[in-house]
Amino acid sequence: MFAFTVKRILQAVVVMLIISFIGFAIKHNFGDPVRDLVGQRVTATERAEIRDRLGLNDPFPVQYARFLRDALRGDLGQSYFFKKPATEVIIKKAPATLELVFCAAFIIVVLSIPLGIYSAIRPKSLFSRFVMGGSIVGVSMPVFLTAILLIYIFSVELHWLPSYGRGETVLLFGWWDSGLFTVDGLLHLVMPSIALSSIMLPLFIRLIRSEMMEVLETEYVKFAWAKGIKPWRVWLVHAFKNTLLPVITVGGVQLGIMVAFTILTETVFQWQGMGSMFIESVERSDTSLMVAYLVFVGIVFVLVNTFVDIIYGLVNPTVRVAGRQ
């Protein structure tokens, strides 16, 4: 297990190096951040001077080496727009995104498991057909469209839910701005989490359903039926547990993707998390914040995947055996 873990961590480091290199290469060819910092009247020479001061005129290898050296010290550069270290900006924005992802994941878990199981057990029932049909609509509807529709129905027409932002937040542990502990904050969370879950939820329902249907055909389930075990026990204890493994694997990967998907959701809801921060940094060519975000998300992806692999190793020993070789 130890060797397996070390190997996964080494892989993670290599992946991070590659991500940072690609991110940095994009930054280098992306455009001039100084444009967004100055008015139209500032001359080309003056802009060149500012670029010089920011170290943007140095050759690519020099800039990259400087970036790596600083990154090892935990310094991912300075956000030009926020006039603060990029890491500080990202960490300040992270709680908003993580809470959103957490709530969306919660919706997905709570809904997809019962719906997936039911439509696997009763594939021909009217309700299952309805769920399956709905899931196709869900998958094919873009997130921003879902989001806009939600806003128009629940904010503009019905006045039930607030249309933008995070509402009232509470400061936890001195740095975690949380919207989970106020009524206003929770109300603000409802539509963004639904919108964010709208892509993944149908996927998980379909995944659970198909895995479950496969398991229901296996010998040991048939044996369980033959033994006369109560139906709910067969379904939940015997069958559903075995559908869990692939669901966990996919779930781990999808969790990472969901962090990335927040970009659209956050932009529409003016949700002040890392996603909208990233889009805005692209728009105003705040290139060092852009790279810092890519590296940060890279770390999240790699950590989640590593973590999932290790858990997988715990749950399914054959993986561990493979890792030992």
Binding site: G31, I151, S155
Partner: protein
């Protein structure tokens, strides 16, 4: 063994689930209790008049000199107060300067208002004006504008002279950019040992996070990009003005969300209104839409150095006749723009009523036939796709209109982050540019967009068409040192006419401005063509 592991996993997940449910229930109860407590704690306090304001961006800093942009000037009119400002018809009206007089060709004397206080409590005097002009001359963004000035000289505590190096016709225009800073507040060093008056673009500075102006509002709290809260300054010199006591400014970048926020009542005032929502907001009860023709000109520059065909004046004229300004304004801009035949919008001194858009396809074809390129030619073109309203669609329409007179345009569009480098490098024959005159004067258009390119003086810096006419240069430069408004206007109008006749570039339209609010306020009284709403004067009934 397999089964037992799963059993463990099952128990584990059950445990996690129940913990989650318990936590959520706690959260819900916690929230309820808090709300009740809050209701008890605040027994029917007199209601504060709050304006919830949503804009597409928020000020980048609290330092008014760190960047010259619309957003920063909007902010400056809230927190600081200029010496003079424009009214709705672009006349100068007194603010911190009560009156002004020209002493000689180089000197404009400003008589300052007495009894004005800064947010810090310091008294406002001529010293602060001198300090501010000195600082403006150090700011990267403003030093170009204040280059003609030697500086400000305090005559006594309430009189200050604005002195220029040469006679200069735009002293009053520039005085609208002098938002006096509190010289005592911004002098010395902060607790990090840094100079308080430093102007810093990308890092911490005292002025970036602290303010002391004379404006109607003070900044209570600010979370950049999320929310800024302003409170009315209780010692503001002008008591008989608006009644807003608090402004909560939230940037909402997404167009549809900004509109929805207004329609759902989450905010009271939005700017700008996306063109596709104008009709909807206009017809909604309880809302109030105000629009106005703006002063940002969108134009096509025709590079006569890159493409020999564009050096032929007949070709350029033909192109001007082939472009249907009004058609694009109606079909693509939803009527939300003003078709242009020149650069200066109405209200600017260089504006000539007679220079109207000239769409006439037959005439365009005839001109092409007479030119050196009767069979047409090929040209490349670039345009941004996220900088101006509908920029990409406008560029496409332009290209297709040119095809009708035999000009095959190959168009490439790109985001603004990449566009300006390409624009500077003049990679294409036809390039789109939008321009707003930061002096609110015609001369600025010519200086940057149509004077002969000169890297030493910086004239023609954004003239990627390489249009060059000595007479236009001469008239523009003459206008710079002309202090007689009538003569200045005549010079600038003549320059405008020459460019029109030669079709040095193709003006498309001026972008309109828009604001929408709830109906219970005097929105139309506080907005203006510069797009600096004077929220200090806003009255909410």
């Amino acid at each position: 063994m397999k089964v037992s592991t799963f059993k463990a996993a099952g128990k584990f997940s059950l445990l996690v689930l129940s913990l989650l449910v318990a936590a959520l229930m706690l959260v819900g109860c916690g929230g309820e209790e808090k709300k009740e407590a809050a209701e008890k704690a605040a027994p029917a306090a007199p209601e504060k008049i709050t304006l919830k304001l949503a804009m597409d961006a928020d000020p980048v800093s609290l330092d008014p000199h760190v960047q010259l942009s619309g957003g920063m000037l909007q902010f400056s009119h809230l927190v600081f107060d200029p010496l003079i400002r424009y009214d709705k018809d672009m006349n100068f009206v007194p603010r911190l300067a009560e009156s002004w007089e020209r002493i000689d060709d180089l000197t404009m004397r400003m008589h300052l208002r007495k009894g004005v206080k800064f947010h810090s409590g310091n008294e406002f005097t001529a010293k602060d004006v001198v300090f501010t002009v000195d600082r403006l001359k150090k700011s990267e963004d403003y030093k170009g504008l204040f280059e003609p000035f030697t500086g400000a000289v305090a005559v006594d505590d309430y009189t200050v002279d604005l002195v220029t190096k040469k006679p200069y016709g735009l002293v009053l225009n520039m005085a609208t950019y002098i938002f006096p800073l509190d010289s005592k507040f911004y002098s010395g060093t902060d607790d990090k040992g840094k100079a308080k008056d430093a102007i810093v673009k990308t890092d911490y500075s005292f002025a970036n996070v602290n303010e002391s102006g004379t404006g109607p509002f003070t900044v209570i709290s600010r979370e950049q990009g999320v929310k800024t809260v302003f409170a009315r300054f209780k010692d503001y010199w002008n008591k008989d003005t608006g009644n807003v006591e608090e402004i909560v400014l939230s940037p909402i970048k997404n167009d549809a969300t900004r509109t929805a926020a207004l329609m759902s009542g989450d905010v009271d005032f939005v700017m700008p209104v996306p063109p596709q929502d104008l009709e909807r907001l206009k017809t909604t009860d309880g809302l109030h839409l105000v629009t106005m023709s703006g002063s940002r000109i969108i134009s096509m520059q025709l590079n006569q150095k890159r493409n020999p065909a564009l050096a032929d004046p007949k070709v350029r004229l033909a192109m001007a006749y082939a472009y249907d300004n009004q058609g694009v304004v109606e079909k693509i801009m939803n009527g939300f723009a003003t078709a242009a035949g020149q650069m200066s919008p109405k209200g600017y001194v260089g504006h000539l009523e007679s220079l109207t858009p000239r769409f006439d396809l037959e005439k365009a074809k005839a001109l092409m036939a007479e030119s050196n390129f009767p069979n047409g030619f090929e040209a490349t073109m670039i345009s941004p796709n996220n900088r101006y309203v509908n920029d990409e669609k406008i560029a496409e329409a332009f290209a297709s209109m040119m095809s009708k007179i035999g000009i095959k345009v190959s168009l490439k569009t790109m985001p603004k982050a990449q566009y300006w480098d390409q624009f500077d490098a003049q990679v294409a024959d036809i390039q789109l540019i939008g321009w707003h005159s930061d002096t609110e004067d015609s001369g600025n258009f010519f200086e940057f967009l149509s004077m002969c390119r000169n890297t030493e003086t910086g004239y023609g810096q954004y003239n990627s068409g390489n249009y060059c006419n000595a007479k236009v240069d001469e008239l523009t430069l003459a206008a710079q040192t002309e202090t007689d408004p009538a003569k200045r206007a005549a010079d600038l109008q003549e320059a405008e006419k020459i460019q029109y006749d030669e079709a040095g570039f193709i003006p498309l339209h001026w972008q309109n401005l828009s604001w929408a609010s709830k109906a219970n306020m005097n929105t139309e009284d506080i907005v203006n063509v510069m797009n600096f709403p004077y929220f200090g004067d806003l009255v909410i009934n």
